[in-house]
Symmetry: C2
Amino acid sequence: MFRNNLRIALAQINPITGHLSYNRDKIISFIKEAEKNKADIVVFPELALTGYPPEDLLLKKHFIDDSLKELNYICQKVNDIIVYIGTVARQRRWVINNVAAVLQQQQVRAIYRKIELPNYGIFDEKRYFSPGRKFLIVDIDGMRLGTSICGDIWIKKGFVIEKQAQLGARLNINLSASPYYANKIQQRIDLLKEQASRFDTYISYSNLVGGQDEIVFDGGSMVISPKGKIIAAAKQFEEDLLIVDLPREHLKAKIPTAQANYYHVPLELNKKGRSFNKGRIEKFYRKEEEIYQALLLGTRDYIYKTKFQKTVVGLSGGIDSALTATIATDVLGKENVSAVFMPSRYTSTVSREDAYQLASNLGIKITEVSIENIFQKYLQTMRKIWGDVPFDKTEENLQARIRANILMALSNKEDWLVLAPGNKSEIAVGYTTIYGDLVGGFGILKDVYKTLVYKLASFRNKQAGWKIIPERIIKKTPSAELRANQKDTDFLPTYSVLDTILQEYIEKDNSLYRIVENSGLDVKTIMRVIQLVDNNEFKRRQAPPGIRITPKSFGKDRRLPIVDGYRIDFYVQPCEFD
Amino acid sequence: MFRNNLRIALAQINPITGHLSYNRDKIISFIKEAEKNKADIVVFPELALTGYPPEDLLLKKHFIDDSLKELNYICQKVNDIIVYIGTVARQRRWVINNVAAVLQQQQVRAIYRKIELPNYGIFDEKRYFSPGRKFLIVDIDGMRLGTSICGDIWIKKGFVIEKQAQLGARLNINLSASPYYANKIQQRIDLLKEQASRFDTYISYSNLVGGQDEIVFDGGSMVISPKGKIIAAAKQFEEDLLIVDLPREHLKAKIPTAQANYYHVPLELNKKGRSFNKGRIEKFYRKEEEIYQALLLGTRDYIYKTKFQKTVVGLSGGIDSALTATIATDVLGKENVSAVFMPSRYTSTVSREDAYQLASNLGIKITEVSIENIFQKYLQTMRKIWGDVPFDKTEENLQARIRANILMALSNKEDWLVLAPGNKSEIAVGYTTIYGDLVGGFGILKDVYKTLVYKLASFRNKQAGWKIIPERIIKKTPSAELRANQKDTDFLPTYSVLDTILQEYIEKDNSLYRIVENSGLDVKTIMRVIQLVDNNEFKRRQAPPGIRITPKSFGKDRRLPIVDGYRIDFYVQPCEFD
């Protein structure tokens, strides 16, 4: 039977980093599924077998050995279908590469070694991998395919894609582990469209999906035509197997127009009859919904992959803990989220009502534990040391730390993961008590600015069709309630001003002078915010991990010294050191 | 007057990372001092102007601008003397290099760009810098000098030194920021001797000194002759200006024996008369004394450079807090260290006596705060939630966290830095309470194995000539005293067994099977230790910074995921996930 299409399957999987046997089994089941769908080729994401990023597991010789063993195991299961798998391979004992292994008929038929290794932002690939030096061209019954891995198509203006197009390739098989931040999918689409049309090639883009510590991979694998059109697209934020047929005549090898150093591997197809599959195009999420999905996936995977099942949230009646509890409930179900309300003398009636209302809306159990007696006991004890001293941040922090101790006691006794409610704005300026409200195993909102916290809460209510997060929580003046009549704005500018400055200083790395210029805001306000950000690096170092949704989170993205003499209070005022 | 020597000054300075004006002034004062000593050349360490490592400060455009301004400022102060300074320079807006700038007569006469950029262990240089491509040869009145920066002489079997020797250089000016770990100085000496004799060249090695977050630079700058002899050596662990004359006839340019891509810069000397300075050779520290010095310097610099003056230590009567308090007192003086003794029902009389004896020996103030009443209050409060449940780790952790809250209250009220007492062994296996004894701004013993803690305590007593750390503290059975009759060995193997396994697993990255082979220890014990190390990554992520004294500390050296399916309990037993 005449076959005028090449059928490609994009296997968008969610591996567990380091869990080689789990990942192997998942890969094998996706291969089987692709076979069932009569695919000619199935493509897995970058480092699909090891998970991404394996970090210093890559420095363990036995980890590389074990990865190679599992690859071999998978290989034994592969017959006619051509399988592209992202994994590690060794050149010499301590020289390893980030590779695409091409398997067929129980054999590793080819290895492509990633050429462009990213070493910025969250990426440390040059710490582990040696760059490849050769392209890989695979010919299949007259069709010609190039190969690339993630960063290869992101830098040097298409160098890797370009060269392979010049070598006559018509389809580039890309294996990616491209981390999410808000609207990243649009950047990817723009990039892929540009590369595809510029070099007159199809691009098949298989992306990873799932949460790994702070990083979320959003999937959204796709196939782009040489005209820059999305001809098939997989789901975002979940596993998927995307199948699409490409016309053979469009993939026929061109005559090379340039020379390059490359491996050339001929493979053959099994001639199976089947009908045409034009592929499906899933809709990508946008704006708040996209971010919300990322938070759901990041939370789900962190909790399950660390083998927790249940969580606990301290509900204060405020927006951060409310949104945290809502997301946790959406992910885990109401039976797996416990709320604790821990009032002190400074807690308002409104806060209690709102916390209870939220818990009731979510259907989660809420327990009340007053911290008042314990707080009294601390004050008595400390008064013996320091006598009658004025109330200051010490007493505020004491309350937050009593609450932390109660949450941790529940965590220890019940095996619940404590979710820290902190948002990016307050973690940035240190408006948080270290070992107090900063306590937790995971911080869902760690990379979410306060202004976005409000938007997400409103989005969730709109999605629900009712005020699942009570309107009053969204509307009321933010307060830590650690002293009488406290408001966040006693200490901070309004959140809209604060977040503007923070984005300039953190995401854009701009100087004081540039921020004044860009924002038109008051110099003193900007200076004070910068000062707070600089001086609170020590708190962030001891903060729990949380989900990255911006291009610069407080994780591996932003590596600043704690001892930092470039702080604004050093360089604006003279320094008294030494 | 005839000059038959070249006088070189090695300026071993302790900069504050990022504090450009402070570093600039220090550099200028060392230049003046070198001039006073009639030096022809003064050589500063790698990145002396910015401090090492500046990390993501290097991603701020204004930081690079400011560094260039300060370099220019220094330049204006330079007359006859030739100055080599380690700093950053720009090639294009986003292309920066780690450079040696050569200054004379108010001008930047040459720039050498570091070729070999380390990107392993604690190093991330490829994140920031582009590698240089050209060597730098400086000719001075017939003498020929090569240039190298740190990593240049550590890798590729002397490539950079070799090529410059082949170009006729007789003296290699090396600027380094070589971080300390125990006995590193001997590795450096071996390396320098080998390189110098192999390529028949003098090497002048200017190293940084001082603490920067977790890293300590130990100085020990030196000059090595082509015969592999140390002809001058600066002090370890303090600032120094080392001056030595080298015979001119030995530095006369050789005829090049190879070609290479290089900058060739001719400079001249001012002909000043002076007598011969053969240089001094300071003695390097060894063994426990060396490590103790590293801990002193690391502690001193962290505290002063973060602008703290006073510290507080919770004394338990145990060895870790005792050594921590002793080091703090050695560094800061007794008036700047406060001890707090916080007994519970489980605290023994012996512990109280020992804590008080130590405080008295050190001359530091000790305050007693019983946690009993507060502990009772927590138990009452929690009993309302969970009723009568058996005592477990929850109640143990509660006590540790009450102590943490008291220490933090003192920290907040008095502006004291809390010193965390944890050692490497217990942090490795998670035998520590997160938000409890793991609390603190800095952990002096974070990278010190328990067996070494004992050795350092004994060393300190020997050095003092009396039992400054009471003998009973060193001799008694270790216990956390969080329940009745508790001993560390209820939970852990003996520390000598534990530390053997930890070194195999952490420093050497060996597999279970290899550790069994190497150590001859019981498989089950080894497995249990590995399991504990793996499962406690989350605690280490929220641990305070501390001083690195081994080649692999729990800081930037060891980057493992928290979600890690390669954990021994995943790969030995089947995994239940999903």
